[in-house]
Amino acid sequence: AQSVTQPDIHITVSEGASLELRCNYSYGATPYLFWYVQSPGQGLQLLLKYFSGDTLVQGIKGFEAEFKRSQSSFNLRKPSVHWSDAAEYFCAVGATSSNTGKLIFGQGTTLQVKP
């Protein structure tokens, strides 16, 4: 069965600093991978997704993620964090063998940005 682990429950970074949020997945083949962001009191918004091809994926709001098959990871990065990036971030995985579009979400990482 698929699973997703986000090892960091809470991360604090200073505004302007770089950011990396970790995501590890468990799946027998190459899965479809997603990062979503949730601002307080809001629904989830897609940041980026990986299906195949180039392992470095660009998303919205200046975020990028790199798929590393050997490490079963899909870490999210941003070179310079803005105060508006404070939110909860979810990594999700979908089974390539499925025709339902179902996703398995990680536990989430809360990002706090210090001024």
Partner: protein
Amino acid sequence: NAGVTQTPKFRVLKTGQSMTLLCAQDMNHEYMYWYRQDPGMGLRLIHYSVGEGTTAKGEVPDGYNVSRLKKQNFLLGLESAAPSQTSVYFCASNYRGGRSSYNEQFFGPGTRLTVL
């Protein structure tokens, strides 16, 4: 386009009461999903539907029922609410396109439910 909307936004129930949460989408999406979000547990799939008239169980279906009588609506029912069902409920929809069913899931704003 309103996207995905959820009704109500907030609700307080007493143990044993019943209620229905409504999800509506105006994007003509085939797939719809109900999740619950609890602190430290991410989003967990309750039920989902791959088309009008079809539903299936997700990861945590016990205590919930669903119906998809119209393509644009996906209803989540609690027949006898329990305190363990206190949560934030999110609906999402997705379109079937290309070679994959894995396109972006669009989320509603959520319903915060408290069961006393």
